[in-house]
Symmetry: C2
Subunit: 318 residues, 2 copies
């Protein structure tokens, strides 16, 4: 297991309690430079995937890895997803989010804790091992989620940087986290795939406004705070456009915590179902939120229950 | 000028006042066979575009013609569009439709009557000549519209057949009409392009429900009646999937009146602006609506003011 962060080449120095990425604090919307590395592993270290993919991730802020999981594995994950969604439809507890104005389950949280199948998946070396390499640290799951965009009436999700929210509302100190979305159904251009703005992760979009209390209850359906301005978005998109992260079932979309992304609605008959894990470096554990609100609940932000992921198969360890 | 319809090879016989395509009349949702031809010109007649394109239109129900209008022509049309949109923003008269919950002008109606530029465009032989060939009759504009899907918050439009509405609410007797959408900005996969279900025009999706009074006031923002069932849509999509009708500015998307289409929202910074003309065969003039409601207003359905389009340049006439 790797010990701790190595590279700090473009990392500015801030005290642990200092706000390295202020947002929603009365500043006007603007783009500022990222202070942190994207790939923390030293350049000469051996990557678990092609080094060209790592390079692309560093430059673009994302990569799509095809055929990571076999059709049989995907079927097992789909079955477990269906089980979790039907188990949670009726209770509507804190761990599920429905479509705006509908009863369909759009998100089930904490699947790495609530399901042995997804717990094992979160620790799978194909995912966790890659996260450990890029973040060059032990990793834990910040949140996990089953994202289900139903056919016919799946709703859009507006542009945002996850890090902006995790920083302001959860107190994640620095950009040393990444997301992995495992596609359980085909994600194609028409059923609301993840859309990413290439290289947007290299800048930080300071957002206007503030953070209302209990923002997360609304923001997971429709984000109204922590939203980059039109001018910032236009400036980011003008450079390299927008990319659809599409893939057959069993692909993995890996994207940096600060990559700006969004998605269209889904009026096709084909649901989009993905499992979503956020890997955070253990050295980047959340602290006090950088806003005036109390921390968000544990199922949205792991705080009390931080556990570094162990490898599933000890023989995989270097 | 062509005299009247020639081909009636797969056309069933109905009296003029009979309802050849009942819908919203208490029947369960279902797919029934189309009774009418798609291309009315005789097979041996000389087409104004490649016969392979005409064949594709007949089979798929649509075609995208690239580079029909020059960049200079597009710029003139864009300027006229901007003028019309700003002229109508303040008054919010009957001829404009705003985004649901917003004041942005989404549609300006009757542009072929209200603007000399668009009047000339509607009669342009590249459009009207092609419509005359496919419908093999004199043609008139059923409605015309400037469709503007703004960047950042353009709204989706759900699946529908235009003909179903034109038949039920306007009394258009038969399927002998087509639409042309002239792209004034680039239509790409992410800014809410027209999505079409190939070959859906060969069947008629009988819709459940009825037609409430003044349905058009809501349906042009968000259609809730005349909507095909999930089962019908799934059956249609399963055969040949869904196609994005994308194109650079100056392209023309031609689609049959019964081709089922919809579009996603637009969260990109790039607005989608198209001019939309519906050409109806003069022999297929609207009659009494096939529902219990009074006819829709003239700017949505030309009824009192039906005028066959003359050719702009008399030398173009055969």
């Amino acid at each position: 297991m790797m010990g701790h962060a190595a590279s700090s080449n473009n990392s500015a120095h801030f005290l642990a309690t200092e706000d390295a990425y202020p947002s929603r604090n009365g500043q006007a919307a603007k783009l500022v430079k990222r202070h942190d590395p994207v790939v923390y592993a030293p350049e000469n270290s051996s990557a678990p995937i092609a080094s060209s993919s790592i390079k692309q991730f560093e430059q673009q802020g994302f990569m799509v890895l095809d055929n990571v999981f076999s059709p049989q594995e995907v079927n097992e994950l789909l079955a477990e997803s269906a089980r979790l969604r039907s188990a949670t439809t009726d209770q509507q507890g804190m761990g599920t989010i429905t479509e705006l104005g509908r009863s369909d389950v759009r998100s089930v949280f904490d699947v790495h804790d609530n399901s042995p199948v997804f717990k094992k998946l979160a620790s799978d070396e194909r995912l966790a091992g890659l996260a450990r390499y890029i973040l060059y640290d032990d990793v834990y799951i910040h949140p996990s989620r089953l994202n289900y965009k139903p056919g016919f009436h799946g709703k859009e999700f507006y542009w945002h940087s996850d890090f902006e929210t995790w920083h302001v509302e959860d107190g994640m100190p620095r950009m040393r986290a990444l997301s992995m979305s495992i596609t359980l159904t085909e994600n194609f251009s028409q059923n609301g795939p993840l859309m990413l703005i290439p290289s947007s992760h290299q800048q930080y979009a300071v957002c206007p406004g503030e953070t209302p209390s209990n923002n997360h209850q609304a923001s997971l359906k429709k984000q109204e705070y922590g939203v980059p301005s039109n001018a910032c978005l236009t400036s980011l998109v003008e450079k390299q456009g927008i990319v659809n992260a599409t893939g057959k079932p069993g692909s993995v979309i890996v994207f940096d915590c600060n990559a700006i992304h969004g998605s269209n609605g889904n009026i096709t008959p084909y649901p989009r179902a993905n499992v979503f894990f956020v890997y955070n470096a253990l050295s980047n554990k959340v602290a006090q939120p950088f806003c005036e609100q109390p921390p968000r609940p544990e199922h949205i932000c792991t705080r009390a229950n931080i556990k570094p992921l162990s490898t599933v198969n000890p023989t995989d360890k270097a």
